[in-house]
Subunit: 133 residues, 2 copies
DNA sequence: CGCATTTTGACAACGGTTCTCATTCGCGAG
DNA sequence: CTCGCGAATGAGAACCGTTGTCAAAATGCG
């Protein structure tokens, strides 16, 4: 399952570079825009495809955000995110306890090959307490 | 924040009923189809709106599934889900430890009003181990 | 080099969700 | 009970992110 026949193309590399250069999470569209802005002529569909393969390869991290799929170059270690609902500032979290817990829970119920998604959102301290609903 | 001016309409009740009657998670579209199938004339947009308010009211649970938002009548207590990737069979989970952990982590980083999303997926034991990738 | 195969790019098509807006309905006031 | 205001509805268009199509170009192996 890991030996996917895959050619190396400059487009895919370009997407990967752009993703590395991006600060936090970016959507396929904005990444495409940024690339085009930087002189690249890569097509939108290609960006989508590249991002998908990048995720499959474990190089990119995909998260659903408000109906949009946002990607991010991810560190090799498994982690989760703490995201500010106001500004999108993201902090990476690692918690072995939680990893263990999810595996345990899945196993307890007879579920194999457990994966999990954990996202914590909040309002970070850079925002005045009275400013929002 | 909890006193949203809200009228009670038969449409919303119908949606709520339909959601209660549904087995597991259902999309707005399929719920609408089921309702129409059952003689209701509620519009699709209304189903979307009702589902949204239902979620706001804590009566329904929304989960993203493959680009679709699926809803489910949920128990009043906060919980998460363990979902089979093969058949969609769902088990509700409750874990105070995890709740506490998320709050703690958010607070540690100066994030207020923390919310979280936790989904665990796996392959449940009703499926033969050798059948899939 | 030559060929089989993969990948690309432009754009159409798709699907889910949201918006628009005139009409209807709920519900409190009189 | 009736009136009236504003929320809720419904039909369909509009939106938007994403995926499919398909001919042309690129890749890499022999």
């Amino acid at each position: 399952m890991t030996d996917v026949r895959r050619r190396s193309t400059k487009q895919r590399e370009a997407v990967r570079d752009a993703l590395d250069a991006a600060d936090g999470f970016v959507s396929a569209q904005s990444l495409h825009a940024a690339m085009r802005d930087g002189g690249s002529t890569v097509g939108l569909a290609t960006v989508y495809r590249a991002l998908a393969t990048l995720e499959t390869d474990g190089v990119a991290d995909a998260v659903q955000h408000d109906g949009e799929t946002v990607y991010r170059a991810c560190t090799p270690t498994h982690h989760h995110h703490l995201i500010c609902r106001e500004c999108g500032r993201t902090i990476e979290l690692e918690a072995d306890r939680i990893e263990a817990w999810t595996q345990q829970v899945a196993a307890d119920h007879g579920y194999r090959d457990a994966r999990h998604t954990i996202e914590i959102t909040g309002i970070c301290d850079r925002h005045a307490p009275g400013g929002d609903a």
